[in-house]
């Protein structure tokens, strides 16, 4: 019988609080692979040890900050993935500042929205617009811009050709831009 995800999230959060060793072991089993991908995407160009350190930092933060997770704002996994992305980005900025990572390792600065437009977007609008994309375009987009994976990595992960990944990204960006401009602007 399939378990209710919300109940499972609450159970895992409680376990992380009451028995961190067991709770973290379970979290690592569930999300260790994704955490590594998220950290690697942000820290591309840094040594593997740096990435492994970052992944461990993410799970340590999961234990430390578990009290900050608010079930009504989304699943525990989504919150944790955001935590990973945030911590990895911090580490990346520190690496750039210390010149151990060159700036040009960043993703290309492509045709996203103007700053004055994005300032009027709400988080809910971004969520809604991304979730309105068709599959597999949405998944490819998330792998590219949320997990910061390269096109060959995405192709390998999702079992698509690189050309198809490139095409999907090419078509998705204007579509998402359109969705955001039409429906996502905060008045």
């Amino acid at each position: 019988m399939k378990k209710d995800p919300a109940t499972e999230d609450s159970r895992l959060a409680a376990l992380i609080k009451s028995d961190p060793q067991q709770g973290l072991a379970e979290a690592i089993r569930l999300w260790g692979g994704a955490a590594r991908t998220l950290c690697r995407g942000q820290l591309r160009g840094l040594p593997e040890e740096e990435i492994e350190e970052c992944v461990a930092d993410c799970f340590a933060a999961l234990w430390r900050d578990i009290g900050r997770w608010q079930p009504e704002r989304g699943p525990l996994k989504g919150w944790f993935y955001g935590l990973c992305r945030h911590l990895a980005a911090d580490r990346r900025r520190a690496a750039v500042r210390s010149c151990s990572l060159p700036l040009e390792q960043d993703l290309p600065d492509d045709d996203a929205l103007e700053d004055q437009v994005t300032a009027r977007l709400s988080a809910a609008a971004v969520q809604q617009a991304v979730d309105a994309l068709d599959e597999p375009a949405r998944t490819v987009f998330l792998h590219r811009y949320y997990a910061c994976q390269t096109v060959p990595e995405i192709a390998r992960t999702l079992g698509l050709s690189q050309k198809r990944v490139e095409n999907l990204l090419f078509r998705t960006k204007p579509k998402l831009k359109d969705l955001l401009l039409k429906g996502g602007l905060v008045p």
């Binding site: 009451s18 461990a56 930092d57 969520q127 991304v130 998330l142």
Partner: protein
């Protein structure tokens, strides 16, 4: 603004960004590194119980058929020969045992929780695994992860190993799950999860069946027991251990102590806490040492410490005359 910054507030809700689990060894390494970073005690220390099975267990279990014959004559006796074979002496009819017969199927493999034997705090579960028809299950199987939870969080430890199999050509084999809890387990709900069955071979591990086998049960293994309050204390480098209670059952000897002063276990420069070495003296002069153990462990995270040992010989609680901790004898009267 870049797309990757624009999407920073997005909260993944589904499986789009999920990845397959890391290999078991990498999960373990990551967990240890995480616990270290978080300033938490290591996994074994966190469980506060360490169970171990000497290699000689294999030899003991090889006598299963013979023991089954000997004890099978007792009509009231339920215990499966594979569990009986854990012990090589003493009266098996004094060991509390319960038949379970609960099965869980996954990937063509059916795991059955056959039976449990033990006492209030220690249980040995016999798990039988049946593979797909025509598939031989060799002596190289193991579950990547085994989890046991008991309702109301308590300190506990466990170990699960494949038992020696006398027919490597059939599709059946069995495992022994040893579970040890600081609290009495009688009547409490136990959740047992076995995950990812692997074949461990010299050339590397191969996944035989992914997924999990899950059980929920509750066992009542209360039986013969004697409790002693010998008093006395044991001086150690970082404090004194006071003996409060010794409990003897046919399958274990447990020693409860409390320590003073409280150890600063989590302080940065705290010394490693060393649990005393325990031996058990019997009325006929036999001394049961760590060499004679079937399993054992020590645990305690605050003032209380519990040492527990299970021996390859079934004990008569009346024949246990003393426990010896780090060479100091405490008589049981």
């Amino acid at each position: 603004m870049k797309w990757k910054d624009l999407i920073a507030t997005y909260v993944p809700q589904d499986e789009a960004l999920d990845e397959p689990p890391l290999p078991a060894a990498e999960q373990d390494a990551l967990l240890e590194r995480t616990l270290q970073k978080a300033g938490l005690p290591g996994r074994e220390a966190g469980r506060k119980r360490k169970l171990f099975f000497p290699r000689r267990l294999a030899g003991v279990c090889a006598a299963a058929v013979l023991l089954l014959f000997v004890f099978g004559a007792s009509a009231a006796f339920l215990m499966d020969g594979r569990l009986l074979a854990l012990w090589s002496g003493g009266d098996p009819s004094t060991v509390a045992a319960v038949q379970l017969g609960q099965s869980s199927e996954n990937g063509g493999y059916t795991a059955t929780l056959v039976e449990a034997a033990g006492d209030d705090n220690l249980a040995y579960f016999l798990i039988e695994l049946q593979g797909p028809n025509g598939e031989a299950l060799a002596q190289d199987l193991g579950f990547a992860r085994v989890t046991v939870r008991m309702e109301d969080s308590v300190r506990m430890g466990w170990s699960c190993e494949q038992l020696p199999d006398d027919d490597l050509s059939d599709n059946r084999t069995s495992f022994l799950l040893a579970f040890d809890s600081s609290e009495k387990m009688s009547g409490r709900k136990l959740s047992i999860t076995l995950e990812d069955l692997y074949r461990y071979r010299d050339e590397g591990e191969v996944l035989a069946a992914g997924g999990s086998w899950e059980f929920e049960t509750a066992v009542q293994l209360s039986g013969v027991k004697r409790t002693f309050r010998p008093g006395g204390s044991l001086d150690q480098a970082n404090g004194t251990l006071h003996l409060s209670k010794v409990t003897v059952t046919p399958v274990s000897v447990s020693v409860d102590l409390w320590r003073n002063p409280l150890p600063l276990l989590f302080a940065k420069d705290a010394p490693d806490y060393v649990f005393p070495e325990m031996c058990v003296e019997l009325a006929d002069g036999t001394l049961l040492t760590e060499e004679d153990r079937l399993s054992g462990g020590a645990g305690g995270e605050d003032a209380s410490v519990t040492l527990r040992a299970s021996y390859r010989r079934i004990l008569d609680p009346d024949e246990v005359t003393a426990v010896i901790l780090d060479g100091v004898r405490f008589e049981l009267k």
